[in-house]
Symmetry: C2
Subunit: 117 residues, 2 copies
Amino acid sequence: MATDVTITSAGEWADTVACCGLATSPVTEQDADRLAPMFKALGDPVRLRLASLIASAPEVCVCELTPAFDLSSATISHHLKTLRDAGLVESERRGTYVYYRVRPRALAALAALVSPG
Amino acid sequence: MATDVTITSAGEWADTVACCGLATSPVTEQDADRLAPMFKALGDPVRLRLASLIASAPEVCVCELTPAFDLSSATISHHLKTLRDAGLVESERRGTYVYYRVRPRALAALAALVSPG
DNA sequence: GTGTTGATTCGATAACCATCGAGACAGGAG
DNA sequence: CTCCTGTCTCGATGGTTATCGAATCAACAC
């Protein structure tokens, strides 16, 4: 599939999310359907660490991520795809290597939801 | 970190979480194992809406939550237990009814992780 | 005690998911 | 071109989960 420098899937909408506060007003059914997959993507210890590693630098090569886990590269690739499909990260191939970086607005949408008042 | 003694469920530990920023420093394997279940609990549209409904008031009776969904009360009860086991909410029975409220520090731990800088 | 209503647990089922090995694809080196 | 290395996809498999009806438990009214 065409790799995404120009994004795909979920995540775009995040820019337009109403914002603010699980508490302030109950999230709508539609918003829940769109936000839940992002939480779900972070709901696995491996993916949470992957996201964290990616977020701790402007971008990170897959070749640095794979050896950080005791898992096959197929599994890591699968988890990275899950994070990408959720709109949390994006990837770009440059030559032999593939680099991942976070989509800050997606994370911001989550933060807004779960932040107090 | 003084790991959790005799806890009702997860979530207590959240009070002692180091804090701050998926990005600032990569989350440890142990932290990931404890934080991921909280994200996972919010990773279902029904549970996200339940958490939102509970968070939008000081406390909410199950008898108000159940009719808000087109699901059996068994299913709602199951989802509430998932949220409770994740440490995101707590419940109290008063007479005939059971009331749920959020555990703000648990939410704060999530917010800290996913918030910028 | 019996009965009623709210909430949870039990057992089953269908759908989903994490993981792997094997294979395919992409890009560079010789 | 042929190899080699990095990444992804495919197919299979064992484990988990969302959902339900039925049964159970808890508190109250009678």
